[in-house]
Symmetry: none
Subunit: 289 residues, 2 copies
DNA sequence: TATATCATGAAAATTATTTTCTTATAATTA
DNA sequence: TAATTATAAGAAAATAATTTTCATGATATA
């Protein structure tokens, strides 16, 4: 457990000056790690002796050691905080920025942890062998489907992304056992996507689901299942973190596919890149402002 | 730049004992940050005086300060590796996964660092006041524009996203000084997006660019400029990290907007969420598999 | 009320760090 | 080559930081 948490927990049992010190540490940890013991004594209203003793009760050799442990903790915290944060009113902008950053980082690392390499391998192999690839998703998941679609056509795959429920079904109905259908839905409960994937399965297509971790209907209907982290609680006001997580999975799928069949796909990727570049090369003159 | 890198670079110009110290630091940084200056002097074969002087040439106040900076750096390094990794052939799947994860984490943290809060504030205010919001972007940036569009309509903004060059211009031509045009392009050199944004500017609309960091044409034409980290080198085979970075900026813009005008936007957000839920509630029976 | 316990800070002791001063070595010039 | 200068680098002094000891006073307990 972290030092700051440990301090917070012990707060009740602390004596007068120790508590003053503890409160200062919790309020201004970043300043504290920059101070000498004398400065901290003055700022927190305690004494150097108290501080020195205090440090030893928190598993530190001495004050400098304590400072270093605390500093390390603070860095790690900014790098990967341990809770998703909800949007609240009128926070200062810099706090909003770090909250969103934290959420995104978290959702990516969590998703990586939840990833099943065997399912991933199956998914990659299925995509590689597929004659046609259908991608189904609504709203935000539709965006992800679009993104995947953009990627797949760059390597010459016959892919298509559908957000329209009727088109989804229309396309699904025409799939064969040679084909793959990918259903994307964070909740795993989007009816249209479920219908489409089920229809694809009935035609014999290989079905792949990308949903949040945990039991859900879409995953139930898929033969290969990929999951994202599911910790986005109370974050529905934008479902950004879930989209990041889903894109993360899509990226891994795509790069896995390209990497496993490097000779085949990379030249196409390069070609698509060069072609777009050459056709849109009417490069603007940059004016000096 | 990091301390260890700086030391590595200066290595050539260092004197005998300084070099011995530098080499020790590079070889055993983790041990070094745990030592006192006397211990380090003994271990590295230099003296306390040399170390003290050495620290000051590397932008540290004193030895403890140096130690703390170095320690922080080491933690950050393990938390977020410092280079973007390219896709290569036939890597084991788990390595691909961690490489992509590292790239995404990196691009998000880097983008956060590069973010200018003042420009952000201006952007948010402009979006808030806008009667109409136009979003322009091609290919991957078009996806991001779509995503932003989805977000904005949830809070009742008259927004529209355009990937089609003709439509972009058509819409841009009808903007007024009450409106905002957002040009999204990682390179900042997509001709169609530049044209559209310039056209919008000519109509008196407020123009906002979201591009990679550094001089680029699109940013030149914008009155408010937001940047993403630009370190994606040799990563064109998918431009995933850049898309993550751009989405990150869009998310921050959106949440910033909602948060600054909480009472106005949050009810709409809730309403859109509830409405979608109620209309698509024909929830499937989950079959037990 | 008397006694014991213990938090606390002042000050002493210890330890850590910086600075000064000196020396020896290397570089430069005559 | 010798003389001169510059400077790297450590010893030791000076300073700063930290810990420990010890005295005090407050609080709890008998």
């Amino acid at each position: 457990m972290s030092i700051l948490n440990a301090i917070q927990e012990k707060m009740e049992s602390l004596h007068l000056k120790e508590r003053a010190l503890a409160e200062y540490l919790i309020k201004h940890p970043r300043q504290a790690v920059q101070m000498t013991i004398t400065e901290l004594a003055a700022q927190s209203g305690s004494s150097t002796a108290t501080i020195s003793r205090f440090c030893k009760t928190f598993h530190s050799q001495n004050f400098p050691d304590f400072k270093q442990k605390l500093a390390t903790e603070l860095v790690q915290q900014t790098a990967a905080p341990n809770r998703y944060q909800d949007i609240v009113a009128g926070n200062p902008l810099n706090e909003i920025v770090s909250a969103i950053t934290a959420n995104h980082l978290r959702s990516i690392t969590d998703t990586t942890q939840v990833l099943d390499l065997n399912q991933l391998r199956l998914a990659i192999e299925a995509l590689h062998r597929a004659t046609r690839i259908d991608l189904y998703g609504s709203a935000t998941s539709g965006i992800v489907a679009q993104d995947f679609f953009h990627k797949l056509i760059r390597i010459g795959k016959a892919a298509a992304a559908f957000s329209d429920p009727h088109l989804q079904l229309t396309s699904a109905a025409s799939l064969t056992s040679e084909d793959v259908a990918v259903g994307i839905s964070y909740s795993g409960e989007t009816p249209e996507t479920i219908h489409a994937l089920r229809c694809a399965a009935e035609q014999g297509a290989t079905t792949l689901s990308i949903t949040r971790f945990g039991a859900n209907t879409l995953a139930d209907h898929a033969s290969v299942r990929l999951f994202t982290s599911s910790a986005e609680v109370g974050m529905r006001r934008g479902d950004m973190a879930s989209r990041m997580a889903t894109l993360h999975v899509v990226d891994i799928l795509f790069i896995g596919l390209v990497s496993e069949h490097f000779e085949q796909y990379v030249p196409r990727l390069e070609l698509s890149y060069q072609t777009v570049k050459s056709y849109t090369s009417g490069k603007e003159e940059r004016k000096n402002k």
